[in-house]
């Protein structure tokens, strides 16, 4: 049976990265969001956000629709079904890990004992 450390290393690394996790969490809570909103809600700078979005798009977790609003480039992002499943699996796995770590925790004797 794998221990908690092995379980931890089995987490989806694409989703586990904090910046990408924040992006996926935001996209999971809405139908679509644009680049500017994701910047506002995650507080990531545009370079870092672009890199994370590229990774998520390559993995098939988000779709990116590029266009222009006037002369300004505008990007609309949406979570794919695969992305929704991936983040669902991730939280489920974390919950399982938390439960298993609580079950295996040895009670610490109090100082009065």
């Amino acid at each position: 049976m794998p221990g908690p450390f092995e379980e931890l290393t089995n987490l989806d690394r694409v989703v586990h990265e904090p910046g990408r996790l924040a992006i996926l969490t935001a996209l999971e809570a809405c139908r679509t969001a644009d680049f500017r909103y994701l910047q506002s809600v995650t507080a990531l700078n545009s370079g870092t956000l672009s890199r994370h979005l590229q990774t998520l798009e390559t993995e098939g977790l988000v779709t990116v629709k590029k266009g222009y609003r006037g002369r300004v480039p505008h990007m609309t992002l949406r979570l794919t079904r695969q992305g929704r499943e991936a983040i669902g699996r991730y939280w489920q796995r974390l919950d399982e890990l938390r439960r298993s770590s609580q079950e295996s925790r040895v009670p610490v004797p109090s100082s009065g004992d």
């Binding site: 809570a29 809405c30 139908r31 680049f35 909103y37 995650t42 507080a43 300004v72 505008h74």
Partner: protein, 200 residues
Amino acid sequence: MADLERVRDVTKHYERLHGLRLVALGVPFLISAAWRAGWLGGWPSRDPRVAGYWFVASLGLAVAVSYVIRAWYRHRFGRARSTLWSSGALTLFAVSTAFLAAIGLQTELSWRLSVPALFLSAVFTSIGLKRRGWRRHYVAVAGVWVVFAMLGVAGVSIATRNVALDVVIGLSLMIAGLGDDRVLKSSLRPPMAEDCARPV
């Protein structure tokens, strides 16, 4: 690192947290209350019908201003479109239906305690206490409606209650709007001008 729960909640309710829109809608009600109380010296007209037209026009203007404010929020923080379930449309429909039923009940029973106002107060309390009270300013709104519900019991005249109704609506919109705006601004950080969107 942003708090993920806050990221989820703010994104889910983003459009509803555009609080300054509610502030704009509250202004006509406060002006109407001032008119009813006679503080405007008969401006724009002493005729209630003409004043009613002015009220409708000012409400229309407030709605137009609220759309300008929405555009400002989108320009500052970006856009996030809600799902049908989190848009609030279904909740609004359910609450409106129940509110109309409460008005029917009030007419039927002729109680001095205002049932529709108490119903609204319960709705606002539930919004204020949800999710560890992240929109706790709605509890203050609920308090305002409880006070209004009690006015009949306290023997306040119909004319004064009419003024109070406008005050309560205007005040509720102001408190809710300013509170929601504060929640939004404390949760989002607008991108710097030089750090604008660029293609992936």
